[in-house]
């Protein structure tokens, strides 16, 4: 099951394991296995707006059921955010805010709000399930026709994106659920050592 991960390049695979966590690592591999059909999966997922208030959606995608090394997971093993009552965000959400505004916002606009150029990712992070989201970021997507020239590049070889994929995902999901406001999160949990180590390994030291 590890094999498909090698398509992430030298900085991923087993090295990135600690970031993705044992559960999501597996899930990620599964996402890549369905690769050939992913185009269909993505567009179908995009066409439908999910009911983000439904209990089923919340349990599968939003509510944190476990925590491992500072990363929160839902019952289905999907990474998610954790925000305390006083507004303290988990490290991944904070890190996602930073990485989003380095790698994504030049096309998608500030805070996942969308732009004249590219769609609002705070919506995509809700409407696309985790695996489709990972697929689109990794492999890219092209919509070129008479009405639009919309091309999402493949970031699969970009360590600055791939090493922070879960960070960006949980941040955007928190934005899409209105769990964090626009702007820089004011309070955050400390950076767990496990994340620091995994980050260094993933970026290649």
């Amino acid at each position: 099951m590890r094999a498909p991960l090698s398509s992430f390049g030298p900085f991923s695979g087993p090295i990135c394991g600690p970031i993705f966590g044992p559960v999501s690592g597996l899930a990620l591999a599964a996402a890549l296995l369905i690769g050939p059909f992913s185009g269909l999966v993505s567009s179908a997922a995009l066409a439908e707006e999910v009911d983000k208030t439904s209990e089923a959606y919340q349990v599968a995608n939003i509510v944190a059921a476990s925590q491992e090394d500072g990363v929160y997971y839902t019952e289905d093993g999907v990474p998610t955010y954790s925000i305390k009552e006083d507004g303290t965000v988990d490290w991944l959400t904070y890190s996602g805010f930073r990485r989003y505004h380095s790698e994504c916002h030049v096309c998608h606009g500030p805070e996942g709000e969308g732009s004249s150029y590219a769609p609002a990712l705070k919506k995509s992070a809700i409407d696309l399930d985790y695996y489709s989201f990972v697929d689109v970021v990794t492999n890219g997507r092209t919509k070129v026709n008479a009405a639009e020239n919309s091309v999402m590049p493949a970031f699969g070889t970009n360590a600055n994106v791939m090493c922070y994929l879960n960070d960006i995902y949980v941040y955007l999901k928190a934005r899409g659920m209105d769990a964090v406001p626009r702007g820089r999160p004011a309070k955050k949990e400390g950076k767990p050592d496990a994340i620091r180590e995994a980050e260094n390994a993933c970026l290649g030291g």
């Binding site: 507004g87 805010f97 930073r98 990485r99 505004h101 380095s102 790698e103 916002h105 030049v106 096309c107 998608h108 606009g109 500030p110 805070e111 709000e113 969308g114 732009s115 004249s116 150029y117 590219a118 609002a120 890219g140 092209t142 070129v144 009405a147 639009e148 020239n149 919309s150 091309v151 999402m152 590049p153 970031f155 070889t157 970009n158 360590a159 600055n160 994106v161 406001p181 626009r182 702007g183 820089r184 999160p185 004011a186 970026l203 290649g204």
Partner: protein, 606 residues
């Protein structure tokens, strides 16, 4: 290998020159006389001096209030529309953003399409263009229309038929090399730049022969002297020789190879001095800690010999950039009296918020003053010639992202990365000796962090939040009149959004500019008083031009919101207090306008 190929092309170019030189001289004379004819608009900048000024005065301060739409034309493309159409004789040439369509419209026949050219480009170029697939327009020379496509293919089209005469590939989009700029025809060549500073591209300027597209010369922004085309003794920086390999000596190791300093702005030319002028962009990455040194010659004004490309002088405005203040904005060339003496001047409104006036023959720095009072990252430029830091901006420690370090969020820096002004070009009226400048009024938080380089992938390395300055008028832009001799703002018109259109001044004592909401505005060149306003179908990031047809003056503008403005402002800027729980509320551009490219042409009623 690359080296060898280049030399071979150089040889070919030299041979072509020997055969084609007389025709080239004729082409150049034709171009100069067309440029001097106010009835036509043959290059994007109006003239070589980048004045964007017209001698036409049929439309003037007394009657501009009566202006009406004469006709309009949909480009069929949704993305941001920068640049302007050209008019040569009875034909108007209109370009679009990616896929970079060119239309030739017959002005004698109600704008009927004479020909249309649509290149085939790999759509994978779209996401490697930073900040929208804009294109800043066509140029004319030697009976040809020159188009520099997004994928860096430079095409020469027969102006009469639209047939491709030649094409050449200037860069490699798989490495993030793309194009958004126009080209400048000079003598028998066209001057061509490159984009991709956010992808670690090393910037260069290339002169291609107008006749066949062969390379005459290429000068890089950084690298050894053989690449930068610098003479260690004769090329000067603030009057002193640059020294050997200045384009590598101020970098650590091989970092200059992915050093940025791209050349996506406007070009100007002084035929008397035979020098071309342009600025280079930011050094890659945006994380200054990762690239120690002055990072020469990013952020630099270049003066190069038009025939050989050799750099005569350079001036680095922002050594070791810490804020993404690209130096690519236009260089406006004027003859004015300064200090009781007539001089050949170069005026430049930099992203860093300083308005510079230099002697364009020697490169001597004469004036460097803030053209937005909120600029705070520097206390000013050291003007003492005997000082060790002569010509350098004094950086305020609080706003230094280098001094604050990696992973530290530096807050309240003015201007924001988009600059007090981006590429949207200013105009100069010789009549009022005043510059009319579209500006941004935006500040930022900037947090740099470590990134790794992958060819063809973004190489940014900083997180930014942008917002209007505290205690200001609440808007994000101003349209200002600037005195370049004294370095002073004459008047300033507040705008709700950044002013992202190019300005145009005319002998009719009026100045045109457009707003991101979509308004065309005509104001008095003397006072800034609003004389005319019209809302076009979409936000304006294009530039104004004017021409006559059958004795009647017309003004044309492309609307079609997008570009960096469309990305940064579509949903409104970030409220810096949002994260602290306060209620946000900055104007969102999407509340005012939507995508879509349209050309609107104005004239006076019969």
């Amino acid at each position: 290998m690359k080296r060898l190929m280049r030399d071979k092309r150089l040889l070919a170019a030299t041979a072509a020159f020997l055969i084609g030189s007389s025709a080239a001289a004729v082409a150049n004379e034709e171009l100069k006389s067309l440029m001097n004819d106010p009835n036509q608009w043959v290059i994007q900048t109006g003239n070589y001096s980048n004045h964007r000024y017209s001698e036409l005065d049929q439309i003037n301060a007394d009657n501009v209030g009566k202006l009406q739409v004469a006709w309009s034309f949909s480009t069929g493309v949704l993305r941001g529309h920068e640049g302007s159409p050209l008019v040569i004789g009875d034909v108007m040439y209109v370009h679009t953003p990616f896929p970079n369509i060119v239309y030739a419209l017959d002005l004698n026949n109600e704008g009927k399409v004479l020909w249309k050219y649509e290149p085939k480009q790999d759509a994978n170029v779209v996401p490697v263009m930073c900040c929208d697939t804009v294109n800043r327009g066509l140029a004319y020379g030697d009976g040809k229309i020159f188009l520099h496509q997004a994928d860096t293919t430079v095409v020469a089209l027969d102006a009469k038929t639209g047939e491709k005469v030649w094409s050449v590939i200037n860069g490699d989009p798989s490495k993030g090399e793309t194009n958004t700029a126009t080209v400048m025809p000079v003598k028998d060549t066209i001057i061509v730049g490159i984009s991709g500073g956010e992808f670690g591209v090393r910037g260069s300027v290339t002169a291609y022969k107008m006749s066949d597209g062969s390379v005459a010369w290429r000068g890089y922004s950084m690298g050894p002297d053989s690449d930068t085309l610098m003479d260690p003794e004769k090329t000067t920086h603030l009057g002193k020789p640059v020294g050997k390999d200045s384009g590598t000596a101020t970098w650590e190791g091989d970092q200059w190879k992915i050093g940025g300093g791209t050349t996506w702005g406007w070009y100007s030319y002084d035929p008397e001095l035979n020098l071309i002028y342009y600025g280079t962009g930011n050094p890659s990455t945006w994380n200054p800690a990762q690239r120690p040194g002055d990072n020469r010659w990013s952020m630099t004004i270049f003066a190069r010999d038009a025939d050989t490309g050799m750099a005569k002088w350079v001036y680095q405005m922002t050594p070791h950039d810490e804020w993404d203040f690209d130096g690519i904005n236009e260089m406006i060339l004027t003859e004015q009296e300064i200090g009781g003496q007539m001089r050949k001047l170069l005026t430049h409104f930099d992203r860093n918020g300083l308005g510079y006036t230099l002697d364009r023959e020697s490169g001597e720095l004469l004036v460097a003053e803030k053209y937005d009072p909120v600029v705070n990252w520097t206390t000013g430029v050291d003007m003492d010639k005997n000082s060790d830091t002569y010509g350098r901006p004094a950086v305020v420690a609080q706003y230094s992202t280098e001094q604050n370090g990696e992973d530290t969020n530096s807050t309240g820096i003015c201007p924001a990365a988009l600059g007090s002004k981006d590429q949207q070009p200013a105009a100069y009226s010789p009549k009022t000796q005043t510059f009319y400048v579209p500006t941004n009024h935006v500040c930022m938080d900037y947090e740099p962090f470590r990134v790794s380089y992958t060819a063809g992938q973004p190489y940014v390395g900083a997180t930014l939040s942008m917002y209007p300055p505290e205690g200001s008028h609440g808007g994000m832009g101003n349209f200002i009149a600037w005195d370049n001799v004294n370095g002073k703002i004459k008047w300033s018109l507040p705008e709700q959004f950044s002013v992202w259109s190019g300005a145009m001044a005319t002998a009719g004592d009026i100045v045109f500019y457009g707003t991101l909401e979509g308004h065309v505005k005509a104001v008095s060149a003397e006072t800034g008083e609003l004389l005319y306003k019209f809302k076009t179908p979409s936000g304006i990031i294009g530039n104004f031009m004017t021409y006559t047809h059958k004795g009647k003056q017309y003004v044309a503008i492309l609307s079609g919101v997008g570009g960096w403005a469309g990305i940064g402002l579509a949903a409104g800027l970030t409220n810096p207090n949002d994260g602290l729980g306060a209620v946000g509320g900055y104007a969102a551009l999407s509340d005012y306008t939507a995508l879509g490219g349209t050309l609107t042409v104005f004239t006076l009623p019969e």
